[in-house]
Amino acid sequence: MNTPLSTDIALEAKQLMVVRSGQVVLQQLSFVVEKGQIFALLGGNGAGKSTTLLTFLGFLPPTAGAAYVQGLNVEQHTREVRQAIAYLPEATTLYTHLSAQENLSYLLTLAGRQIDRAAIDKALDTVGLPTRAHAQRLDAYSKGMRQKVAIALALLRETPILLLDEPTSGLDPVAIDELNTLVQNLAAEGRTVLMVTHDVYGACQVADRIALLHNGSLVGTFSASKGAPIDTNTVHTAFKEQTVR
């Protein structure tokens, strides 16, 4: 049975508990991400951030509670849920023996989408990948360039929800700024973004809401007020308190 949810809710974790290899990774985790919102899950190593994303993607079945995507129970509607989500894993490794164009063409066909070469090039331009690199094999790319290709994939899939796992990891400051702008533009178009990160500053710059995760539990939430980003110092202090404790 699906839980009837407000049409404004894109993602919901409800009393989520996940146990992996006998260890509780998430416990009593509840939060809601509204449509068009940029929601950042912040936490140290092992806090359960990536596990949360994998649970929303249906890779990890909850031991208790449930995850919902657009009102659909993830466990019961895994395929539909995945069709609604573009996922950007941490340290994305696309096929290095293929070019950016070929990678995107293959992965988009995999997602059931037929996109022409011009649209692919446009998306690659949008994420800031130099035009001369579009047809080059990925083994000649820097980590940041590869990440841009993966982001272009997320753009081209035109899904209503994006799950980003440490999207700025390994990117240079310029690329981080470009990515943040891109994410904000996507949210402005009505897409929902759930990103996990341990970059307090980056999260505060881009997110509408931040949830602080520690040992699989939610220990604090912060929201941006009208027009102003979330205060980095407040979040940083809370983050340090949790991780030191």
């Binding site: 994305t92 023996h97 293959y106 066909t109």
Partner: protein, 418 residues
């Protein structure tokens, strides 16, 4: 179809997979070519032997003009010509003789004196299509499939791919189908091409192809289940799958053969040969009556003409040759029934070792299995019995030699095999 096309394009950029597929094609092509070369060479040897055989007998006829001498000096070529599918599975044709030159003398020794011409092949097997399909095909399946999931996991793409595809099962299934479809093409196209050239009966080629596909599916299931049920890394998976290949392709068949050899002991061909030679040699020193009594027990119709009055008479000479066969008969029967029993048991137990099952199936379809070898030996005995019947009449009835009567002498032909 779109997903098949997508994976085909993807595969066309995968150098390792292309390498394995190319290697599979080249090795199969070599194996089929080697098989074709071997059967062609057997056929051309047969053609030469058939000509020489007729010519030899004509010379004997020109030199001699009595039935006993002609029977003694005339050799007759018996043969089991390779079937149109023999190129694919040379089987027992490598181990047991498929041609003999026999005379009116004691037969069993003549059949077995050429046994085990290639004893080395009993252990390693011939490099033919059956060898490739039974023993190498599983390795190609393993190399093409083992890293399907684990390589993606190691590269950090697994979740991205499954999340993008929506359904991982369909993705892995399509990838495996494309790879194995191409592998089947690489393995079966040389077989089909050669079979068409050889004029093999289509139903046999279809059966052979189906057996190969069944074998391929078995290894697909093994590779898929091992990688699906575990989260092992590619090297560990490869090691495990190679271990399974070793078990099914090498250890199990060896164990099955060892068990069968223990369960069904066999005399060997040389024992039969030796027993018969001793019996025939001893016959020179035995009272002629003893020999003729033993002979007429089997041929009562010649009892009235079985008296031997001269120191040497051809009918006595051929009678003790036949008695030599009678002495070795229990051993020969034990040898044949034992080989047949071993073959039946091997066929049954081969389900425990699919590569062995495929090899047996292909040999059976190509008429190169133990059953075919035994049929051929039976055809020699039938032909030899006809020869004996022909000459015994001439010798025991003391008929004068005429070239016209000689024309009635039986000739070995394919018909003796059926």
């Amino acid at each position: 179809m779109r997903s098949i096309y997508r994976e085909l394009r993807f595969l066309s950029r995968d150098r390792a997979a292309i390498l394995w597929l190319g290697l599979a094609f080249v090795i199969t092509l070599l194996a089929v070519t080697a098989g074709l070369y071997e059967v062609q060479s057997q056929r051309s040897r047969l053609m030469q032997l058939l000509q020489a055989d007729r010519s030899d007998r004509r010379i004997v006829t020109e030199k001699h003009n009595d039935w006993g001498s002609i029977a003694y000096h005339s050799f007759h070529l018996t043969f089991d010509a390779p079937s149109p599918l023999a190129f694919a599975a040379l089987g027992q044709r490598e181990l047991l003789p498929w041609k003999h030159r026999i005379r009116m003398l004691a037969l069993e020794g003549q059949i077995y004196e050429a046994d085990a011409t290639n004893p080395a092949f009993t252990s390693i097997g011939r490099f033919d299509f059956a060898f490739v399909a039974s023993n190498l095909l599983p390795l190609f399946v393993i190399f093409l499939l083992y890293g399907l999931r684990s390589d993606e996991r190691a590269a950090g793409r697994f979740e991205l791919l499954v999340a993008t595809a929506g359904n991982g099962g369909h993705l892995w299934m399509t990838r495996a189908t494309v790879r194995l479809g191409l592998l089947a093409l690489c393995i079966l196209s040389p077989l089909v091409g050669a079979a068409v050239g050889e004029g093999s009966p289509p139903h046999l080629v279809i059966f052979a192809g189906s057996a190969v596909l069944l074998h391929l599916v078995f290894w697909w299931i093994v590779s898929n289940e091992v990688s699906r049920l575990t989260q092992w890394s590619s090297p560990v998976l490869l090691t495990a799958l190679i271990g399974l290949w070793l078990w099914f392709a090498v250890l199990s068949p060896s164990a099955i053969h060892t068990v069968i050899e223990r369960l069904i002991p066999l005399p060997n061909g040389s024992e039969i040969l030796l027993t018969q030679r001793e019996a025939v040699n001893d016959a020179w020193d035995l009272p002629k009556k003893t020999t003729m009594t033993a002979f007429t027990e089997r041929h009562p119709q010649w009892r009235g003409q079985a008296d031997i009055n001269q120191p040497f008479e051809w009918k006595w000479y051929y009678a003790f040759q036949q008695v030599g066969d009678q002495v070795t008969e229990p051993l020969s029967q034990q040898y044949d029934s034992g080989r047949l029993a071993r073959n039946h048991l091997t066929t049954r137990l081969s389900f425990l070792a699919p590569p062995m099952w495929l090899e047996q199936t292909l040999q059976s379809l190509a008429s190169t299995d133990v059953g075919a070898a035994l049929s051929y030996e039976k055809s020699i005995r039938n032909f030899h019995a006809q020869l004996r019947a022909f000459y015994y009449q001439k010798l025991f009835e003391d008929q004068p030699f005429t070239a016209q009567a000689l024309e009635q002498r039986p000739e070995y032909s394919k018909a003796h095999l059926h």
